[in-house]
Amino acid sequence: MSTILECKGLSHSYGQKKALDDISFTLESGRITGIFGPNGSGKTTLIKMLAGMIHDDKNAVTICGYPVGAGTRAVVSYSPDRVMYKADKQISDIMDSYEIMFDDFDKNAARQFLDEFGLDEKQHVGELSKGSAAKLQIILTMSRKASLYLLDEPFSGIDPVAAESIIRIMLKSIPDDSSLILTTHQISQVEQIIDEAMFIKDGRLILHEPVEDMRDKNGKSLTDAYLEEFR
């Protein structure tokens, strides 16, 4: 295992409001990490900074040894918290864009997933239900052979069956030496699949532990630990 992500003293403010406050952590390859916290705690800001969409002045984050930038965006696959494409956009057009922009995008794999989950390339984004749109976003993200996957709220507003499908796509397509970070409020749904958990409160990282250690040391499930911390 090698260090795939290193974060040292990452901070960010929106005007006067501090969204992230001196966050430091490292992530090894081959790990699935869940980031948990209440609304407005800074999860999405953290994900966006790791994805390189929010500028990091101090180069506090390095991915595969390089500061976040155009180079790291080539090895990081990002899924936002909602489908960002216009309603009139065809799935095939979005796939063509991914094929042009990302060398590691596997169009055949994406097509297989689309077939498996009953989606048609010729469909427009506006025709999809919320669950189908979420699946599409995950299919596009996970069809890349990236070193780091960043999924922001992949289960937001979708039913448990669709959530299960999304987990299936995630586990099926993630390469062994790649890492995955996801943020979610559905802790019970991901507790069995994540290796590490991070708790963020008011922009500060208050816990970063392997889930197994949490269970063995404290005898608590992840859900119990979360409720205890944030109640």
């Binding site: 390189g52 969409m53 965006r73 936002p80 960002m84 922009m101």
Partner: protein
């Protein structure tokens, strides 16, 4: 061509090729009207030609609006935000939009200019003798009539410099819109302003006033050159020649520099190195 350029062309080529086809069709009809005006006693074909050329010029406006709207989408919409997850520098989106936007614009302008030149060349009506398409021929005759040496070469030089000035002006106008959007996005982001369209409107007003000042500066520079054309003896003191060259050169300098400055500031804003 880099991959972002390829993507931009792929996403815009359908609508742009349609616009280009329409512009070409209107220009062809304008040429036909010029031919008809030679055999018809009525002014109708000439009037029709003018209307068709004006409509085809709208194609250029449509193309500019489409490309500027695409840049607005990159800065202010969710889909545009996703583009910042692409493996390119952030300012590459600016470069690509300006490159592709100007490419489509100049493709259409070239068709319109070609249409003007051809329709003025085929017409035998006196009223169209001084049309834009006959600029070179009329300048060459004028310079020859004023006993300038090498009148054809000087006429060609005048036309080329005027066309460059027109091109620089078009580039400046396009980059002004892009700059307005970039500045607006920075202001909205820095001060957490949600009324994005309001900020764009106000920034646009400010930019328009800056343009008025630029035009005034350009006119005064042009007038100063014209008043002091003694040092331009090599142009043999022909009024039309010197004035056209002077004003065009002043245009190129003033609009060229402001376009470069606006582009560089936009690039820096996108790289988030500049706090406004």
């Amino acid at each position: 061509m880099n991959r972002l350029d390829r993507l931009e062309i792929k996403e815009t080529k359908k609508i742009m090729l349609l616009l280009i086809t329409l512009v070409a069709a209107y220009n062809l009809l304008a040429v036909l009207c010029s031919v008809l005006s030679n055999i018809s006693a009525s002014d109708a074909p000439f009037i029709m030609k003018v209307i068709l050329m004006m409509i085809s010029a709208l194609g250029v406006v449509c193309a500019a609006v489409i490309m500027i709207a695409r840049f607005y989408g990159i800065l202010f919409t969710d889909e545009g935000l996703m583009r910042f997850s692409y493996p390119v520098e952030k300012n590459a989106h600016l470069k690509t939009n300006v490159k592709c936007g100007l490419m489509w614009l100049f493709a259409m302008i070239t068709i319109i200019v070609a249409g003007l030149v051809i329709s003025d060349a085929v017409t035998k009506r006196e009223v169209e003798d001084w049309g834009a398409g006959n600029l070179y021929r009329n300048l060459a005759e004028h310079y020859a009539g004023n006993y300038l040496s090498a009148p054809s070469a000087k006429a060609l030089l005048t036309v080329i410099i005027c066309l460059i000035a027109l091109a620089v002006f078009v580039i400046n106008i396009y980059i002004s819109f892009i700059f307005t959007l970039t500045m607006s996005s920075r202001i909205c982001g820095k001060y957490n302003i949600l009324q994005k369209k309001g900020v764009i409107f106000i920034t646009g007003i400010v930019m328009f006033n800056i343009h008025l000042i630029t035009v005034e500066v350009m006119s005064r520079i042009g007038a100063a050159f014209y008043a002091n054309y003694d040092w331009l003896d090599l142009f043999e003191r022909d009024g039309v020649f010197v004035e056209l060259i002077d004003r065009s050169l002043a245009n190129i300098i003033v609009y060229g520099i402001t376009a470069i400055v606006m582009y560089r500031i936009s690039k820096t804003i996108l790289d988030k190195k500049l706090d406004i």
